[in-house]
Amino acid sequence: MTTTTDAAVPAAHAPPRRRRRMDGSAAVRYGFIAPAAIYLALFFGFPIVKNFTMSFQEYTSATFFSGEAPFVGLANYAAVFADPIFAKALANTAIFTVVSIAGQFVIGMGLALFFRKSFPLSGLLRSMLLLPWLLPMIVSAAVWRWILEQDSGILNQSLKAIGLISAPIPWLTSSDTALIAVVMVNIWLGIPFNVVLLYSGLQAIPTELYEAAEIDGATGWSSFRFVTLPLLRPVVSVVLLLGVIYTIKVLDLILGLTGGGPANATQTIATRSYEMSFIEFDFGQGAALGNVLIVIALLFSVVYLRANSRAMKEG
């Protein structure tokens, strides 16, 4: 949004000589916007609109051949909310998102603060930290599935070797631990994102402030509490918001690790929506549930934008 206003400013101050060619330059300006606008409309706008209309239709595998998708009103939504797994999926989504974000943020913040100090190999270590982010999700999921394997997985073997456990933990095969395991892997995946953004946010805080705070007697925790946190607030809110939006819709990781199982223990709104569309072939219901997810994500965005504008007014 800022770029478009910036672009408009010089045009408003254009010398009168060029005003005659306003139509032409307007066309040029729209011409520059057009590719992005068309792209967005085609690849973001269209699917969302399509998903919205699909959720009011009986859209099955037959629809693909016949093109017929009868309008069914709110029937898909009614079916989605009456689905016996819906409540569980909603709760799982909430737990998955909240715990993942909390874990990623706390560990990410700790690492970012740690890497602020310069020490030998800190640059190398910091770039190594990005590795989970660079791996395709399917690869991470496959490797973690293997690590968490109950009988021969390396995690259980190691825990056993150091005497922490006597019987192997059924990480992915028990409904008590599966969600914990999935959240654990997701935290691991999300740490790089948090570290990178928080670290760059920390870099932007002038060191003079810390020096001044130190003279006033604020060191350690109080320096973090009264200098770092307030100045990092805009970055923190972006990290948390993006984190929520990314995490709430995580699909491939869960499918790769547990497929939503065992016995639906790791079923979330996203996996359930996928299952409705591509396993039960009920694309209408899948779309309806997908829209529920979009609305939830949208709510977070609205909360963020409001909080942001309030902060701007105050600031």
């Binding site: 699909l251 939503g260 199982g261 065992p262």
Partner: protein, 432 residues
């Protein structure tokens, strides 16, 4: 025409796609399928307009299948090319990764680019036929005599045959002969023997038995032989006969004779346990024999039919394998040619050739008998196939929902410790 090359190689030639040669529905949790999602959604809107066929060349037949492993790929291509030249058409074949086939078919039917000859996994046939995308084979006078009744049924929708399977498969019990000899155990034939021998074979980090009880159609496919042999039926899954089969699985896991890991294992994972010597017996199919021989050449194994509840009971296993169909392209002349190709493709001679190359069983009853004599190592599968049942025979398009209810129920039993009778009664209720 460069007709002997697949038109588009959508996958690196031979990444092992377990589902590509087995009889179960491709596992949709496989992440590859995700790649198809955006395309599918955006193409969904194009449906319902126009008609007409796929490619312009009247002498070229477009074929879509999912045979990606080298052994399958070679024999399918050679057989198609041979029958193509007999009929006087060239073959343009496209191979799709197994788990993406259905998404691809939906996309093709939406954009009116269905091929002239389409392979489908047999439990998917009714779903696709019900959408109107396929033509009944009798419209082209295709002769289906010689095919076993159950095999035809696997390709039938509302009384009409839409798909023919040149070869079929099923599952049986593989066992490690060395381990059984060491433990002094005979291959089990009944459930009690299965439990006893699995327990006797379990020690240290070796489990007596491996199977797949994953929450996908693949797991249901492995559950069926136990359910059917016990008199259970998919038309009513709330019966004690069905629950007892789940009880058997649950007992095996509770005894420690099978790993709790079964709830997250596909059939490929189960056979891997067997290859690694971590399971003495495994429920699996003939499509994994080549891999077993390659990956574990020193392992000595044999196959018996799946144990039955009590001595004398019939062992009923599910019928697997892919059926070949003629899609509704609107190009009559080409459909006729495709029908000619299909008729020759499924001839008993070709069935024998494909069965030999792919370790699958010819669908023609006479051919299957000769095949069993020529291939004694597959005789167990020939026997098991002769009594096997198709999954969609009774329920048709209702099958996927029932299959899902079944895997949901046995997962509750194995994971949450729900009483099998309660779990399956609930599952039956959920189907309404």
């Amino acid at each position: 025409m460069m007709s002997h090359q697949p038109r588009a190689r959508t996958s690196a030639a031979s990444v092992r796609v377990p589902s590509s040669e087995s009889g179960f529905r491709p596992s949709r949790r496989t992440l590859g399928a995700l790649a198809a999602v955006p395309g599918l959604l955006s193409l969904a809107a194009c449906g319902g307009s126009g008609g007409g066929s796929s490619s312009g060349d009247p002498d070229s037949i477009r074929v879509v299948d999912y045979y990606n492993t080298p052994a399958d790929d070679k024999v399918i291509q050679e057989t198609l090319d041979a029958v193509g030249s007999e009929v006087g058409v060239s073959i343009a074949r496209e191979k799709v990764p197994g788990e993406q086939l259905i998404a691809k078919v939906l996309q093709m039917s939406s954009s009116k680019t269905l091929p002239d000859l389409l392979m489908l996994d047999n439990p998917d046939l009714q779903e696709i036929a019900s959408s109107g995308a396929l033509v009944p084979l009798e419209d082209f006078g295709i002769d289906t005599s010689g095919f076993a009744k159950e095999i035809l049924e696997a390709g039938t929708f509302e009384g009409k045959v839409y798909g023919l399977a040149p070869t079929v498969n099923t599952i049986a019990l593989f066992y490690n002969t060395t381990m059984l000899k060491e433990a002094g155990v005979e291959p089990p034939t009944t459930w009690d023997e299965l439990k006893a021998s699995a327990k006797a074979l379990t020690h240290d980090d070796v489990y007596g038995l491996a199977f797949s009880a994953i929450a996908t159609y693949e797991g249901t496919w492995q559950f069926l032989p136990f359910m059917w042999s016990n008199g259970g039926d998919e038309t009513d899954i709330g019966t004690p006969e069905v629950a007892e089969a789940a009880q058997l699985w649950s007992d095996l896991v509770a005894d420690g004779s099978a790993s709790q890991g079964v709830v997250n294992w596909g059939q490929g994972d189960a056979i891997d346990q067997f290859k690694a010597g971590k399971a003495a017996m495994v429920v699996n199919g003939p499509w994994n024999i080549v891999g077993l021989q390659t990956d574990a050449p020193d392992l000595e194994w044999d196959v018996v039919i799946i144990p039955v509840p009590a001595a004398g009971d019939a062992s009923v296993a599910p019928l697997g394998g892919e059926v070949w169909t003629i899609p509704q392209t609107g190009d009559d002349a080409k459909q006729k040619k495709a029908a000619e190709v299909l008729q020759k493709f499924v001839s008993p001679e070709n069935q024998m050739a494909m069965g030999t190359a792919r370790n699958t069983i010819p669908a023609d009853m006479e051919a299957a008998k000769t095949f069993a004599q020529d291939h004694p190592e597959l005789a167990t599968f020939v026997e098991q196939v002769s009594t096997a049942r198709s999954r969609t025979g009774k329920l048709g398009t209702e099958w996927p929902a029932t299959a899902k209810a079944i895997y949901t129920a046995y997962q509750q039993v194995l994971v949450d410790g729900t009483d099998p009778q309660t779990a399956f009664a609930d599952a039956a209720d959920s189907l309404g």
